[in-house]
Amino acid sequence: MLPPKFQDWFASRGWQPRAHQLALADHAARGESVLLVAPTGGGKTLAGFLPSLIDLAEKPKRARKSALHTLYISPLKALAVDVARNLQAPIAEMDLPVTVETRTGDTSAARRQRQRHTPPDILLTTPEQLSLLLAHPRAAQMFAGLSTVVLDELHALYNSKRGVQVQLALARLQSLAPGHRRVGLSATVKDPAPLQRFLMPQPMGQECLSRLVIAKGGAKPKIEISTSDSYVPWAGHLARHAMIDVMAAIQSAKTALVFVNTRSQAERTFQELWAINDANLPIALHHGSLAQEQRRKVEAAMAKGNLRAVVCTSTLDLGIDWGAVDKVICIGAPKGAARLVQRIGRANHRLDEPSLALLVPANRFEVLECNAARDAVLAGELDGERLKTGALDVLAQHVLGSACAAPFFADALFTEVRAASPYAHLTREDFDAVVDFVATGGYALRAYDRYARLRKTEDGRFRLAHPRLAQEYRLNAGVIVEDPMVEIRLQGKGRPAGAGGRKLGELEEYFIEQLAVGDTFIFSGDVLRFEGLRETGAYVTRARDPEAQIPSYNGGKFPLSTFLAQRVREMVSNPASWSSLPDPVQEWLKIQEWRSVIPKPGQLLIETFPRGNRHYLVCYPFEGRLAHQTLGMLLTRRLERGRHHPMGFVANEYALAVWGAKDMGGIDMDALFDQDMLGDDLDSWLAESNLYKRTFRNCAIIAGLIQRRFPGKEKSGRQVTFSSDLIYDVLREHEPDHVLLRATYQDAGTGLLDIARLGDMLARVKKRLVTRRLDRVSPLAVPALLEISREMVAGEVDEAILRDNEDALIRDAMRVD
């Protein structure tokens, strides 16, 4: 039962407290930590804060010390600000003596300092700001009276490096305020146990879970799939053929969110929509490369209800509620059921009405994926996530932060860290190696002892060697590592590159580096001509060229989920389920069945065939582009060693195609696809892999080997001060067991290379390979082969030649003779 004041307030609003809101208040009364799993629109945030408001209302202001009562952590700054605003209503209407403040990167220095000495009752902040607060010498006083920590959007946080960072912060808070309890707020997840573990200090050698409250689900969403019975593209991700449908869906909605998977898709879709926007509907664009001010403008227009649609990427997966959104359109592959639920949930925040969604597959495989995802969502099944392990780099940052707050005993810090679930199995050796790394670099050759960052005090504690190090820590803290970015500056025609120029946004440095002067690309909704790279940025002019070279920057960040891949494989292997698919897709699969074979559940199909003067080997693991790329690297190494002369490979989300000069049909596939490729072959490939070097760079930056910023030089454009590739080469050559290389290896398992997933796949298909030697290309192979031609001829050959190639390929694949 809620206190009368709160009951009255609910009644005055015409509301009934929901069951899960009451349940959370009960757990709070017993001092228990709890995870609330609820769909969007379930009054989740209020449920999280209600117990704190009740507690604060019952304790008269004067009886309390001025101390922080409740800490709220959101992965998004904008969300923290929005929640603070929303809390004002109940506080004002019930006249509660409660102060609420936010603390973000935008908070003024004066206010930050005041918050440390006189904190509000409720402070709303981000993981990064919390780590900075904890690294301050006043942290112990500031958090001593803490009663509650509320963690919002926990499903988006728990399995990332930021999640690990938060867990280390919670472990520290456990020492500073042993009595506090935690509330996790999460969207629906397949397995809540890791999130429950997240909320609890883990006792040595045991597992401890928080309480769990699952809110009643809302109305099932209505999901349509846009399909055409006459034409479904073979490859590509742009869904140009369906833009009229998308426009019609926008017109029939009050406000629509149009989700795509990459920034280049967002740019392209935005252009396509405007080309057919005869009604001149206000449609805007939102993605991570656009200038901050421009994104804020779009968000503000959205909040005011001035827009009919926003074309966006995952930047709007999370975020503040826009009441007006009543339809979500997802273009391209959904990638995962949970991701789709999250996106659909952005429409209609009323629990009892169904959210409306339209899925727009851009090619045949995506038709299968969209159907599988819709079935999963309607059946209430979600993807699980592989839990990330390791994070020795995040630990290194935490160790330095701990020293910034106060000198520490290694034994005590080790015990504290082990209570955080990602480190429940951390060995003392690894912990000591990390401390040694922070102190002097941790090299076997003890060259840097005299420059140590941490020194031992007489009583055996580690202390910071110099106060300047605390300043450096503050500038470099955080576990989000951006790719090096270059500012895009638009200048007038005919002016020399580098003169003037308005900032349009930022693009990855590696994308800019591969442009030649005169190349055109689409960015910020315009076709731009590259004029040159200068110290101050990349200079561009407006081009009137409709056929721009499309930027491929940051292509699909998220791979197809294991769960959804499984469902797509099942759908393919079960002809009875094909009847719900559009005609061209059914025909495609039927000819595949007739010409080659449809693999049975659990089998991996491998086809070989000649085409032109090349020979191909194509397999269909459906494990996502990252795992396929790693597989491609390893297979080509093995084929090379076996003198089969592979010449190249291409991977997409569903298939991997390798080509070479010789027929690969006679190869012993069981040996080729054996799991032992994850041994020496993997190791020798890693040494040269660019993705692995990028993983190392991230670890080196997070661990503090490379500093992003130096005091006094916070704003100098190119962030990183030293090339991580040079360090990687020397370290791998001279000290291959170094803690940072171990951290990189652990990361690679679940990160950019998806090695763990590849390992699972190889184990799954062992002895279940189905091979077919064909005399020509099979229907299933066409999408992968089209990607090869796209990759090879990009910007070099006329569109016409490409189209001709494509037609010939499809004709050969679908010919029934």
């Binding site: 840097y448 591969q514 442009l515 360090i727 990759e791």
Partner: protein, 224 residues
């Protein structure tokens, strides 16, 4: 190794894929910008790069010397990252350096990072060195200078193709003068498109990029 033979001011010079240049006529092997002890220099600012850069650089020098068996080795300046760098060299590195000094006669050209290379090194210290039509010095002169062989600029070039780009250290030459890539393990690079290079050459010039086993002449001459 496949070396590339080019003419600089009429003299033959072999470009080695490791980043060294060899003059067969004068049996002289040239290295630029070794930046020894750059790692420990950063360590003084408490940034702990792996302390193996000097050993790595010296080992690669030893390999190049064993390959070309020169009578003379010239280090084209900035051999030491800072003024105290030589004092910080470890025991192993000193031994390696001693062995190199016995394998060939060394000339240490002074650079801006090491205006006074230490006296205990084998060989001699010089501001510049003339070998027939070649003039070896650290910093290239601002005006065109026939026969000049220099370092200092750490040239790098990148080629883009098929949506990928490869960036490597490179030699730069217009047939009259030659800039060597930096040889030190921790030396980064400056793009040859930078004004620092374009202002050096009266006409166009070539970039010779370092591959794993050979040197690649960049197909397109860079117009100034």
């Amino acid at each position: 190794m496949n070396d590339l033979l080019i003419k600089v001011n009429g003299e033959s010079v072999l470009l080695d894929a490791c980043g060294a240049a060899f003059s067969p006529s004068y049996s002289t092997l040239m290295f630029a910008d070794l930046h020894l002890e750059k790692g420990s220099s950063y360590a003084r600012g408490r940034q702990f790069l792996p302390p193996y850069d000097s050993a790595d650089t010296l080992r690669r020098m030893a390999q190049a010397i064993a390959r070309h068996k020169p009578a003379r080795v010239v280090a084209l300046g900035d051999s030491f990252h800072d003024r105290d760098a030589a004092d910080r060299l470890g025991v192993q590195e000193r031994i390696l350096l001693g062995e190199l000094g016995r394998a060939a006669h060394f000339t240490w050209i002074a650079g801006n990072h090491d205006p006074h290379p230490p006296g205990w090194l084998n060989g001699e210290v010089a501001a510049e060195l003339r070998l027939g039509g070649l003039l070896l010095r650290h910093e290239p002169a601002c005006v065109p200078q026939a026969g000049e062989v220099a370092g200092h600029l750490h040239p790098c070039a990148s080629v883009a193709k098929w949506g990928r780009s490869v960036r490597r250290r490179c030699f730069v030459s217009d047939g009259l003068r030659l800039i060597l890539p930096s040889f030190g393990a921790y030396t980064g690079g400056l793009d040859v498109g930078d004004a620092a290079f374009t202002s050096l050459f009266a006409g166009s010039f070539h970039a010779y990029m370092l591959g794993t086993r050979r040197v690649y002449a960049m197909a397109r001459r860079i117009a100034v």
